[in-house]
Symmetry: C2
Subunit: 413 residues, 2 copies
């Protein structure tokens, strides 16, 4: 499996954009043709998951429909429309002795993605990798096994004519040993991307001997500065908490400047009543005043500051200063997405510079951390590490560089 | 130790170039003032190493002299002259809904370098890290312990006025457990760089739970194409083998196209006689013709193709085609520096595209893979991995990016 993936990546690395786009077009057609087969396999996965007691929210992630398959296929055409990230000369210069050095983008090689039950990731990740000239080893959840098998078969059918079918493999034994095998495959896998819950990511990071790109855990904050426009601020907070609470860029803890808390909390309590539970420190709780009958509000405990709720729960803490807010974020945060709401220029600048995170927002919702929103066309995930790539990972994250050095008999003195 | 390094990196990250350069100037002055103390400590290390039976070549790496200290100090002034890699806006754009996104370079954070007995690395690595706004944990060889202690003390004295002394620490317990502690320090160390022999690098890569930048092992090749200018080629080969055989960018195996071998080998044998041993396959051996009396030549064995000799030894193999050369390199090479000698344009292009290495040379010695030669001013090592940085690592390798996203009440629909 590793051998054929590596061999395929060597061939795919030399393909021009036109050939890669044509192959992806064939994949789209093959998936469209296999729609009934895919839906049937997916129905089996869903039935098994349901009888196994999977929560409906997770089943919703797993389940496919003709509309969702159309969405997946549209995404392929979208990726086809993206620029080729390979073969760009990022820099070039002549050294004092006349060596000509060019820094050229090349594919990262063979990548592996270890992910949970979302079947659209199977197609998205393959297409991004193929476009970037990389072969890919997909290790999805065992809950999506039937669906993924049929999808990968269809992809390979699409690649059979003019493409490189060996550029994609599904690790489908379903055993944990298989994951360990991937994590140990030094020399065969150039990077592994865990995409899913905190536990999956921790396990990959702890055990991998191949390079890892850590993704996704987001304990995100919004800091409401004293000068913030509070009416606007309440809408931003509500958006960051309610629009899609189960994702990594949703806000989890609100930090409120002491000078803003008495005005903010009653507005916020009103806005979130019946929609989210609040876990407040004493000062924030007191600032709510008379608590609306339908508002669920609890005393915050230390653990709340460190928790990625991924739910309709918002922790609220009062801080005395921007400095205290920054220190709290840099201590409890996961370097994902952090926002300040302010109308004070120096506060905006200080927050942006001092907060250590992939994405720092001024007067905007944290929910924007996304490859699509950023203009990358599509994304493989959100990197929360500093090495190689930070924030939304698009096609560029699947490339590295090569130096081409041209001489005319140059030797080193 | 980890706590104070992390705290120091947060402060250092916000320093302007002027403050960092001034601090580095103070460090240079402090090292100059401490010269006698450094030489005395180094003499102890050298004496201990010699009585412990260390090879003279290694003692030469360890030993300092007034001239070498001057060289180290000159290097600091050179680093002071380099541009600040931090705070550059690499890209910026406005999204369709008016969010303004900037991609800004920021320091990588806290790095650690684990290295062997060269004491100049202590100063070089610190200065590069400081200039890039990173704190650094230095873990040198126990053989250089006395020298490193005095050097780091002098650096800290230099940083005492206006600098950040906590931005550098020496891990000086000398125990192996200390290395393990560094390798496990997730959340404290943003990247660890092993710099030294293959065994050190393997140990770090196998055991690290923090991100690693793999450096240095170089099993480098030169492929002599049928169209090569052989007189020029012999000089390039001699340079790549003889100029400094103990370093990672020296050539280890020569691959010769069958159509060039009869002409090349007698010239090469003559050029290397008395200077390097040849380990030839049967065809290359036969092509030498009458073997000069002083030439050491042996039959190559399979193991030779995989060996980084780091010595006056050159393996030689005949190949039938460029394709065979590329396959040999991609199979036995370490993705470091690979060269083709040719006058054929399509051969040059095909070799450059197909060989999977950090640096690919056309008609030049592999010995040029070096941060100084490339124009980076100084280097931390040569990365042989694909993630984050590839080839010579200068200041840029010590940075990552942060997205600053500015809105005006933007929420996600």
């Amino acid at each position: 499996m590793f051998t054929s993936l590596k061999a395929a990546s060597a061939v795919l690395a030399l393909e021009d954009r036109k050939a890669k786009d044509q192959a992806l077009g064939n994949v789209a057609a093959a998936l469209e043709a296999a729609q009934e087969e895919i839906l049937a396999a997916n129905a089996k996965d869903v039935e098994k998951a349901r009888s196994g007691g999977m929560r409906e929210a997770l089943i919703d992630r797993l389940a496919l429909s003709p509309g969702r398959i159309k969405g997946i296929i549209d995404e392929i055409h979208h990726i086809i429309g993206l620029e080729d990230p390979v073969g760009r000369v990022k820099a070039g210069w002549r050294t004092p002795i006349g060596l000509f050095i060019e820094q050229i983008t090349v594919p990262l090689g063979t990548v592996s993605i270890i992910y949970e039950s979302r079947t659209n990731v199977t197609v998205d990740a393959f297409c991004l990798a193929y476009k970037a000239g990389c072969s890919i080893l997909l290790r999805g959840s065992s809950a999506a096994l039937e669906s993924n098998r049929v999808i990968v078969k269809a992809i390979k059918r699409g690649l059979a004519e003019g493409g490189i079918p060996d550029a994609v493999e599904l690790a489908d034994s379903g055993s944990r040993d298989e994951v360990d095998l991937i994590l140990q495959a030094r020399g065969w896998i150039d990077a592994v991307l865990p995409r899913g819950g905190a536990e999956l990511i921790r396990r990959v990071v702890e055990n991998a001997k191949v390079p890892v790109i850590e993704t996704g855990v987001g304990n995100c904050h919004i800091f409401v500065d004293a000068s913030a426009d509070l009416a606007q601020g309440v809408e931003i907070i509500a958006n960051a908490k309610l629009q899609r609470p189960g994702v990594c860029n949703a806000v989890e803890t609100l930090l409120v400047h002491r000078d803003a808390v008495r005005q903010l909390m009653p507005l916020l309590a009103k806005r979130l009543t019946g929609k989210a539970e609040l876990r407040c420190d004493r000062e924030a709780l007191a600032a709510i005043g008379s608590i609306p009958p339908a508002l669920v509000v609890k005393d915050a405990v230390e653990e709340d500051w460190a928790t990625e709720f991924l739910d309709y729960i918002l922790a609220v803490k009062v801080v005395a200063s921007l400095d205290e807010a920054v220190k709290h974020i840099n201590s409890y945060g996961t370097s994902h997405s952090e926002a300040i709401l302010t109308n004070d220029l120096s506060s905006a600048n200080e927050f942006s510079r001092r907060v250590d995170a992939a994405c720092v927002y001024v007067n905007a919702s944290t929910r924007f951390t996304d490859g699509g929103v950023f203009g990358f066309g599509a994304e493989l995930g959100i990197s929360t590490q500093k090495l190689h790539v930070r924030g939304p990972m698009g096609l560029d994250a699947l490339t590295t560089i090569k130096y081409k050095v041209t001489g005319s008999g140059h030797i080193r003195e």
